[in-house]
Symmetry: C2
């Protein structure tokens, strides 16, 4: 992915951090965004973030020092179960939401958006293993798709669905041509291979059960 | 991806580093590998690695201190054009190759494998924009697929193709069930949406031109 490149890391990143893309609206910056001037990783502090699989990432900026953002992406991971109670994080998301043109989340990042008061009354999704938990919040219309757009709120299913979300978001925001450029440069034309019969898993999300009709394995 | 999770970062990571997975053969460790005990990022030194899009990652271990590996994944990126001349890197890959059960590369990482003497006479692939360069090396049989296996050498097309490569590698090495678990937990059942008509691009790789027949957009 060329634009919010950190999307590739969403699974790995545990919490105390969010990620943002700041671009001039309508510019091609979303395509060529490179470096903290336009696209950066934000965390509670600037200390290294220890992520899932022991990946260690260095944030560019702290919540406190972060300027107003145009777009804010909130990643998911196990850490979200605890971080929904972290007022430093949810407060940051809430404050940024006041002027962000869009808020996005990947995987269980949707629970952070909810804790920041941004998901009530909205359509949204999350990782398949957390769909029931999202439903149990009581005020979110849970949609079992790869990603869901509801106005300025974009949420995705688990981990890799963040790539689909982001291409759709880029197409919506900056046009099909730029989305096509990002998709081609990152060579995101995945194989349709399915290992095992996951669509028969009792927790398989709706889009997965249905998608057997769309694609055949090769 | 659960196993070599860093795969999600391959595009972003510029060079002076490789990534490795070290597991007990035949164990379920490939599935549950978590942390430097089993899966780590290796670099020329332990200093932070500044990657594409300004992502900064902290390696777990230096080339010098790295133990013998079972599997070694070499990522790609623009840095490879310079790093093929970095004897510290190519020497490390060459030494590890003596006992690794498999060598893998993503994107233009295949040029590092070649520079380390591991690709001559082999079938391999790379990012679509570098296929001609790979062909020009003269001693590699270039295959335009998402990924290519030739004995213990696995190479992938650009960036995101590393995910397809890794699932296939896990299925091959640890069985379909574990590959299925990884695929399901990472929810890697991508949308088949194509933005633009990239299959008509003059440089579109063979698998991309052909795959129109397999899937329809939704």
């Amino acid at each position: 992915m060329k634009a919010p490149s950190g999307h590739w890391h969403q699974q790995s990143l545990q919490f105390k951090y969010t990620q943002a893309l700041r671009v001039r609206p309508g510019s091609r910056a979303a395509h060529s965004a490179n470096g903290p001037e336009n696209c950066f990783i934000i965390a509670e502090s600037k200390s290294p973030i220890l992520c899932a699989r022991d990946l260690s990432v260095n944030p560019h900026i702290s919540f406190e020092d972060c300027p107003p953002l145009d777009y804010l992406l909130v990643p998911g991971g196990r850490g979200t179960r605890k971080e929904v109670y972290n007022e430093a994080l949810t407060g940051f998301v809430r404050r940024q939401a006041e002027h962000c043109q869009a808020l996005l989340s990947v995987c269980t990042g949707s629970f952070i958006l909810h804790a920041a008061g941004q998901l009530s009354g909205k359509k949204a999704t999350t990782h398949w293993a957390s769909l029931e938990r999202l439903r149990a919040l009581g005020d979110v219309e849970v949609i079992e798709e790869r990603f869901v757009e509801d106005g300025s709120i974009w949420t995705s299913a688990g981990i890799s669905a963040g790539i689909d979300l982001m291409l759709a978001f880029i197409a919506h925001t900056f046009g099909e041509q730029i989305a096509g450029d990002v998709q081609f440069s990152s060579e995101y034309f995945p194989a349709t291979t399915r290992y095992g019969r996951v669509e028969q898993h009792p927790d398989a999300p709706t889009y997965l059960r249905r998608s057997r009709l769309h694609c055949r394995n090769h």
